[in-house]
Subunit: 652 residues, 2 copies
């Protein structure tokens, strides 16, 4: 991760709606306190520690938020095993002034304790300023750093509880399930039929010493003995091109296996539109695309389990971030309405399904959680990316761009968040480019022009073509050298000889078309057999970058922002990670900013999927984004074409 | 249904715990009002009517219960489509004194309306005495009479909503699901994957005029056009011997098809113990028993659908009442712990499953709701029976007896409810009886002794044997005639000739054993070729009836009740329906009471299953019974054998 002076975490103050959507105004059904959601209340935390002096920390939150959540979102740990659902009775704090006593408080504390302000933090709604004393932690919560510097306190949906039960007698004929659940004081899962079928046998064979396996609200299994040390989950980034799987050890929060491969849907077309078209032309294609996606995931799941030395039956959950089309195809949902105006999804919030329903052979009760989507072209991958980059948690003015055939753009001014999609076309993936190719061995990925041409080539082999980052570099360097003018036209031979005499002979023609030779075997090689950038390639790139910059320009106008207001630009996706920030600025793909403000964010979709597996609170945060982020449809904007034409030129 | 002077409905006052278990203290998570659950508050309802003068009605309920529930349980209808879940905003009433304003109230009423006490009845907790004005009903709720005179207001888990949606545009890109659910204001279902897959196609083919099909919390389908008039469900009574299916039209609450057949598990044994034994002897038997049960249900489902002229795909739900063993076997759960001490169930509350998971080919999203059980031998069939007979709603002192190989007994003194099971053995089903047979053609079901023997025979054919009710009649009549003494011994020839000269020649011997000839072709027929009652048969019956009467005797002792305190005895099950009340009293199978207090209740298990389909509130009531009813285990009671020996004799 590139670290820049601007890369400090922002404030984490955020809106009441965030909390409400995340179900964090607990308990559900309770009447809200008398406030209108505006303003803030102040909580002054005194955090005690067994081995160190207490520390002080003051936070401001919207009225009505629970003390537990206020602490949690501000990185103040309070004991809890239920994650703030009012069931574990462990999140004890002392509040002043005292707040009403709930029935859970009455069960947890003595009258004397209640008098001095002891309460369960998850049930105290902060409706005014409070002092809160947090006692020393009984168990230090584990945390993991994921995404763009996000610190996540581990609270996976997958939970295990080891219990040693008393055996039934004629005096104690509780059912096997009641006996098990009575011994688990902080969770109230509903059993899967599979778990019920295993329960009587496993209990008796294991002398009533068993481990309950819970995923979210479901009891998915009982295992003999103590298996709490083995809990795994797989995060999938289901890209149109590349699919990545990460096997996570949920006990430690660390990855134990990573694998990636091309999406097996490739034969149906390179981009989402061609795959949607395939389903419109052939009624059998949807089924075949579904199988192809399933097989891709299954192959990767097998690989990461092998790599991690993990039995697939110990993988109890998976999370998947994919764009709306990939998600629909995986679920066997007709994607046609995504592909034609007015571009409508079947659902923005696909329900969790059994992993087996999409062909994954993990634990039979394993669930697959799917990221929600903002729109047909700002899908679950982008929501995951927003989660990983903390787009809603950070008060800085930030622009998030995922560059690809379909380019997704998110802009936050610290209060409001807008998103849109721009159809950039295939140029960045080497499509429609004369010598274009994917970022694979032999692809030119870096271009520097000085007295001569310096190339960076993937795999250190003879250059075979030009990938997206090389294309951007080449154009940017040619603009800088004056060999391309602001309108995107190559210089004449005369001008070239004058301003760049050592490069001028590379400007030549293939047939009628002007080209710049990037790589040739010998100076006298036939340009048609060399790696060149053609006039038409430059036009393709101009169209692509104009589509993207029109997107962020319109969003910035909507929020009244100038380029200089942006504190950070995040370039997401694998392409974004390889792009030269300086080149991106030079061609106008990103706003005109100091390059230190432009950060490659990496595979943020995969990171978001990991966060969802590590923390149910982060998962709720993804859902909250659907309310917080406004989706802006560009395709019917009357000002789109004007801006687009303006932005075809390179910045001068 | 036999109507008796005692058969008036009792009070419907019941405990706070009832409400709490049924989730009726709404909203969940809300803090309870300041009360300790004792005492009652009084609600004075003024029920307005468009066409008639308003009526007055006063009810007393535990503090904390919602006004809506207080009304509903007392038969006062208030408009509602969500069933009191706070979502439909239709249950408008005027309360005085006024109560706090919830956010739902604030959205529903104007400030002026709030000032004069308008509130949503489901959100008003009655914590003190109130006057409540109920405005005239907008829609008159439909009700059906089921069970033992129970009037059920129709609110099935299966709901349909016809909607005409606006088509999506670039200005309105809501997802298909959001568009659909936004148009349904009173329910918030989660979609099945099947429904999601159908959604985009059905919406567009039906010009966005569709019917949403909801089962409980799940959106199971969308259907083109308006299909609200077709909603069906099947109630199953899965007996060890006989299985009954009733197809219900959920729109009218009426049955449209009924079918019954023998349980296909019969080859594995006649009673639950032999079927459990089968699974212990052969590991493959569980699977085969599961298939046999599934096939039985599937065959009946097909029959009732054919009879009712209903497409199975229009059946969206099924409910099943069965004993604990039948339920376990159907779900493929090992029944062994049910069959051996300490007699433990895997779960008392089996989760709803997809009907397809038990082999039923109904609508692909159809659910099967399973009745909860009180214990290994007081199963879901009895809970269903208690629901159908209103055991928890009726303030009378009542005894419920389901006579069978395993006999279940429930006793209520109007406050407390106890239940137990008594192992009666197979005598009542004709097992272990010399001329015993099932209640089928040729079975003697009625016996009267006067100067001669009068027989009632099933099917009006030549008598072939003796079924349970005939057995009880025969013994009772012989006791009455003095031909059997109180200890169960046949009279000597001398005594017989003296007290019953016209019958004495029927008292004879087969080998060494004393028999009474019930039916012979001619007076000189060989007794061994006639239908007789043997001394050993009498002993079998004595053991069976002593087991049962020990059960209710111990329960009555526990509640401090005498025979005369009982206001009603309900005889459940098909056998109970045919039993002569007078004979049952005479042999001591039931307490010594006027016969008018003894009521044949019919197939109450099946009736309970129907109620669960017609009303989600009744279904919640079944679950509440688990908390309200105390299960008494008799097998380890030191006083059991003493009582049993005492009760072998016939009452004198």
């Amino acid at each position: 991760m590139t670290s820049t002076p601007e890369d400090e975490p922002g404030d984490t103050e955020f809106s009441l709606e965030t909390y409400r959507r995340e179900g964090l105004i607990s308990p559900p059904g309770a009447e809200p306190a008398a406030h209108d959601g505006t303003g803030r209340v102040q909580l002054s935390f005194t955090v005690e520690d067994k081995e160190a002096p207490a520390t002080q920390r003051t936070v401001r939150v919207p009225p009505g938020v629970s003390v537990f959540d206020s602490a949690s979102w501000n990185g103040i740990a309070i004991d809890s095993t239920c994650g703030g659902h009012g069931t574990c009775h462990k999140c004890k704090v002392r509040v002043s002034p005292v707040t009403p006593v709930t029935r859970h408080d009455a069960r947890t504390f003595s009258p004397a304790e209640l008098d001095v302000g002891w309460r369960l933090a998850c049930l105290v709604q902060a409706t005014r300023d409070h002092d809160v004393v947090v006692p020393p932690l009984v168990t230090r919560p584990k945390a993991a750093t994921v995404g763009v510097g996000r610190q996540v306190i581990l609270r996976p949906a997958v939970q295990k509880r080891y219990v040693e039960l008393t055996e039934p007698t004629l005096e104690d004929q509780r059912s096997d399930l009641a006996r098990l659940l009575d011994a688990i004081d902080d969770l109230e899962p509903v059993p899967d039929l599979h778990a019920l079928r295993r329960l009587p046998k496993v209990l008796r064979e294991a002398d009533f010493k068993v481990t309950a396996v819970i995923v979210d609200e479901a009891l998915v299994d009982v295992e003999p003995g103590d298996t709490t040390a083995t809990r795994y989950a797989i995060a999938f980034d289901l890209g149109t091109t590349t699919v990545v799987a990460t096997l996570l050890d949920l006990v430690t929060g660390t990855p134990v296996g990573v694998a990636s491969m091309l999406n097996k849907q490739q034969p149906f077309g390179a981009d989402v539109i061609s795959r949607i078209s395939a389903t419109m032309l052939d009624p059998a294609a949807l089924g075949r695309l579904q199988v192809a996606a399933s097989q891709t995931l299954a192959t990767l799941a097998e690989q990461v389990c092998r790599e991690g030395g993990v039995d697939p039956a110990q993988v109890y959950e998976a999370a998947l971030a994919g764009n709306a089309t990939m998600t629909a195809l995986l679920l066997g949902i007709d994607p046609e309405p995504l592909g034609v105006a007015p571009f409508v999804q079947t659902t923005a919030t696909p329900p969790a399904v059994l992993a087996s329903e999409v062909g994954l052979e993990l634990h039979p009760g394993a669930r697959l959680a799917l990221f929600p989507a903002l729109g047909a072209y700002v899908g679950g991958d982008i929501v995951a990316g927003m989660l990983a980059t903390g787009m809603d948690r950070d008060k800085r003015v930030r622009l998030f761009i995922d560059v690809g055939t379909n380019c997704e753009i998110v802009l936050s001014d610290g209060e409001r968040i807008l998103s849109t999609a721009a159809p950039a076309g295939p140029a960045f993936e080497g499509g429609a480019i004369r010598c274009g190719m994917r970022a694979a061995d032999g692809a030119i990925e870096v271009v520097k022009l000085g007295d001569d041409v310096e190339l960076g080539v993937i795999g250190d082999v003879e250059p075979r073509g030009l990938c997206g980052s090389g294309l951007v570099d080449a154009v940017a360097e040619l603009v800088k050298a004056g060999l391309l003018d602001a309108t995107g036209r190559f210089a004449t031979d005369e001008v070239a000889k004058e301003i760049a005499p050592t490069l001028a002979d590379r400007l030549t023609y293939i047939g009628q078309e002007r080209v710049f030779v990037l790589h040739r075997e010998r100076p006298d090689s036939d340009p048609a057999e060399s790696v060149v950038l053609s006039q038409r390639d430059v036009r393709e790139l101009q169209f692509a970058k104009a589509a993207i910059s029109t997107g962020w320009t319109l969003l910035m106008e909507q929020l009244g922002l100038e380029h200089g207001d942006l504190q950070q630009v995040l370039l997401a996706g694998s392409f974004g990670s390889y792009l030269s920030a300086a080149s991106a600025v030079r061609i106008g793909l990103v706003p005109q900013l100091p390059v230190l403000r432009i950060v490659a964010a990496g595979n943020v979709a995969g990171e978001g999927a990991k966060m969802a597996l590590l923390s149910i609170r982060e998962r709720a945060g993804a859902l909250a984004l659907l309310e917080e982020v406004t989706y802006v449809e560009l395709s019917d904007r009357p000002d789109f074409n004007d801006r687009f034409v303006d932005l075809l030129a390179f910045p001068t």
